[in-house]
Every structure is written in structure tokens, then in C-alpha cells.
Amino acid sequence: MGKFEHWHSPFEGQENLFSDALKAQPFTAQVNLRGNPDDGVFNGWVKDSLDLELPLEPNRISEGKGCKALWLGPDEWLVIGSDEGLASDLSSPPDGLHSAVTDVSANRVILELSGPHARDVLSKSCELDFHPRVFGTGMVVQTLLAKSQAIIEQVGGDRYHLYVRNSFARYVAEWLSDALLEFQ
């Protein structure tokens, strides 16, 4: 893991914020990908490079081999992968293709909120409805979490991944650990 070796987590010295219900995830390769999903060349290139079909339905994710794509907008996705060379997989688009690939691995840190009260804590922190009636595994939203811009993805039954801006990460983690207190 050469690239992440020298990176510092914003949570250094703040380990007391974390518990079984709230954990920081390790650094992950994140790539912002833009392009026209109606363009067959673009779709084919992404599929060949990542072995992944981009989600076209809003607020959904799709999974490929070793990576997944989060819908951010009608022509914008966040590709997440464990392999730090993810951006270089997309470094050579076909000639003339209108697309953009940006390595944003350092942009956001990922927090995992889990357990029976995960949804209660989200409801305290965010104005959106996360009831299973309208939200579920494989869905993702961009919204405000404790007034800070965040991407919220449900990765399992009561497990959520929160993608928070690096510079807001400690504040959000402190907010969430405080929000969890009443349930402990």
C-alpha cells in the first residue's frame, strides 16, 4: 500500500470516538468519473476497464470486481476500490471520448455506522428518511449529515457507510459518537 503509507488519518489520537457502532474505515481508492451514460463508447470503456456496469438509476450503487460505483449525478459517479491503482485503470480513455477521471481518494474519509440504533442516529443527524420502506441496501444519497455534506450508503441490513469530507471528519465523528451515547 505504497500510496497510503504516508497518509495521516484525521482521527489520529481520537480513537476514543469509536466503538462497535461507529468505526473508521481504512483509506480507500476513490475516483470521480464523469461521462455521458448514453454514449456506448463511454460505457464500453468503463466496463472493459473496471468490469462494472455504472448505475443509471439515481441513488443506486453497482458492484464490479474489486470496486463499486456510487451514483452521484446523471453523468457523475464515485468509483470506490480497494486497489490504490484504481485511477490508473481509467487513465487511457479512447481517443475523442468526452469524459473526466479525477482521483479523489484524499477527499473523503469513510465512517461505518452499524448496529440496531444506526438508523436512529442517522435520523437524529439528517433530514432524510432512511426507513426500509424508502431506503435500503445498495442505495446511496448525497445530503447533509449534521449540516456537513456527506454521502450515505447502506451497505447492509443495519450498516451504513458515511463518506465525509476529510476536514469535517472529526466533527462528524464527534457528533455521531455523541448521538450514540443515549443508546449505549
Binding site: P58, N59, L72, G73, P74, E76, E127, L128, V141, Q142, T143, L144, Q149
Partner: protein, 98 residues
């Protein structure tokens, strides 16, 4: 608080959006041919409607797309939401007087 239906993301709270002012203001074809007054009119003068108003909103904390909203400035009722480049929907006079 308003609940605004983003054409892509669906209904979201107003706090996720930024207001973009009056919609459908066309940039003059030949700005250099305008007098200072005409140019100032284009830049600064906006209508201040009591009733139905076509306005732009930006889903800044969501999908970051601009779109148009048809809103009643008296009741805050949102009558229609449509994407950039789409024609504004025609609203019956009965609706307009609500």
C-alpha cells in the same frame, strides 16, 4: 421548510438546495451592441412577482444539477419542476389564482 423535488434525486429538504433567482433570462445576442442601461437591465433587473414565479434552483448538496421550479411566491406551493432546457409547463388560470 420547502420539500423540493429534484428531477433526478426526488424529494429533498430545502437545506440541500441553493436558490438561483429568476429563470429564463436570455443573454443578449450582441452584448456589445447594448446601451449601458440595457446591459444593466439584463444584469440586475429581475421581476418581483406575487404569484407564479419561474425560478432556478441548484441541488448543491446533492447531485449538483441546476433545474427550474415553478413556485407560487404567496403560498410557496411548488406547481412544477422541470429540467434545464425543458419548456415550462402551462398552468391553468385556476391554478394560477390559488
Amino acid at each position: 421548510m420547502l420539500l423540493i423535488k429534484c428531477p433526478w434525486c426526488g424529494e429533498r429538504p430545502e437545506t440541500e438546495f441553493h436558490y438561483g433567482g429568476e429563470a429564463h433570462i436570455e443573454r443578449p445576442e450582441n452584448p456589445e451592441a447594448l446601451s449601458d442601461e440595457e446591459w444593466a437591465n439584463f444584469l440586475f433587473m429581475r421581476s418581483n412577482v406575487k404569484g407564479l414565479f419561474r425560478e432556478r434552483w441548484h441541488h448543491s448538496n446533492g447531485c449538483r444539477r441546476w433545474f427550474n421550479v415553478l413556485r407560487n411566491t404567496v403560498s410557496h406551493d411548488i406547481l412544477a419542476v422541470y429540467r434545464m432546457g425543458e419548456k415550462p409547463p402551462v398552468i391553468e388560470p385556476a391554478e394560477e389564482n390559488r
